[in-house]
Amino acid sequence: MTGSAFALGLIICAIAAVLVSAGLGKLAAPGASREAIAALLRLPEPAAQRAVRLLAVVETLTGVALLVPDLRTAGAVLAGVLGLAFAGAGLLGRARGLATPCGCFGQRDSRPLGLRSVLVGLALAAGALAVLRSGADAAPRTDLLPIGVAGIVVLLAVWIWRDTARELVRPRPTSTANH
């Protein structure tokens, strides 16, 4: 396996993991993203709710498509479009001075849409472009990609919800009463 093929595999895994995590996170906990989209696009709540669901489904399917050789080109195009859309949302959020958390992965404890969203969006678009330029068949060991994505998804989840994870493993005092 060449270095460039390995790097391409990593890029595909990273893009797919970010999109799958963001999509599933929003599907499970849409509240924060709904408020952010409502504030950003000045939409009423029901329309913002529908927009979040649609975005979450598109993100998840795009992430999965990157893992299927026949769908990888379409997945890369969609990932690029999503990346540019996130960058645009970050610019708009910054211009409007939004204070609402972006809830990009479903978590309320997040920064508002802004410079970080622009950088992440541009990184996604650049990664998608690299995948497109390399061609759908250039990635090594397609069968290993889902394992790589699964690993990154779990690491991302633990990082994003580190407070919740810490709370889950925090030792608790045991009751000594009633023996």
């Binding site: 799958v20 995590s21 599933l24 996170g25 599907l27 499970a28 906990a29 509240g31 893992l67 204070a99 958390p101 992965f105 479903g106 978590q107 309320r108 404890d109 997040s110 920064r111 508002p112 397609t142 069968d143 290993l144 990609l145 889902p146 394992i147 994505v149 699964a150 690993g151 998804v153 779990v154 991302l156 989840a157 633990v158 994003i160 919800w161 580190r162 407070d163 919740t164 994870a165 810490r166 709370e167 889950l168 925090r170």
Partner: protein, 174 residues
């Protein structure tokens, strides 16, 4: 075969994301509901009688007084944002300080700035380490009540006015 195994792993990983997201949403909704009496309840797990070994720089010297209240607000909790908004409208807040519990210090600093909390003594408590380590409190919004630097009570609440009617420097009771 490896591909099928990988897809199965990915489905499990997706389940982890959904689980964490739902736990996060539950934590976000946690707190005192209006159905719970006055909306203020005692936190039994608090280390009442504890004098903190050290106060964070932002709260230095704050606890030394007849009755002082440190509000614990989390950046991940929607009722905490409501309480922060209520604080912005208050004029008599000389006995109030805020500890902002957050996973990311930058997010905590933005929470303070966005809600105008910088006029109060405040501390961005990354990971909630100070509040949970010193007082055993992992609930927000919560009010830690101090007298002469000692924790004398801890309350969960969702409405600042309700809290004020329960704890007041003029009434001197908790």
């Amino acid at each position: 075969m490896t591909y099928v195994f990988g897809i199965a792993l990915l489905i499990l990983a997706g389940g982890v994301v959904v689980l964490f997201a739902m736990l996060g949403q539950l934590a976000d909704r946690a707190g005192v509901t209006p159905s719970q009496g006055s909306g203020v309840r005692l936190l039994e797990e608090a280390r009442v009688g504890h004098v903190p070994a050290a106060w964070p720089a932002g709260l230095a010297g704050f606890g030394d007084g007849p009755l002082r209240i440190v509000l614990v607000l989390s950046t991940a909790c929607s009722s905490c944002r409501t309480v922060a908004g209520q604080l912005a409208d208050q004029t008599d807040v000389s006995d109030i300080a805020v500890a902002v519990s957050t996973a990311d210090a930058a997010v905590g600093a933005e929470f303070v700035a966005a809600n105008g909390l910088s006029r109060l003594p405040h501390h961005v408590d990354e990971g909630g380490d100070w509040v949970s380590g010193e007082f055993g409190i992992s609930v927000s919004p919560a009010a830690l009540v101090f007298r002469d630097g000692m924790l004398i009570s801890a309350l969960a609440f969702t409405d600042f006015t309700m809290l004020r009617s329960t704890v007041s420097p003029t009434r001197q009771r908790v």
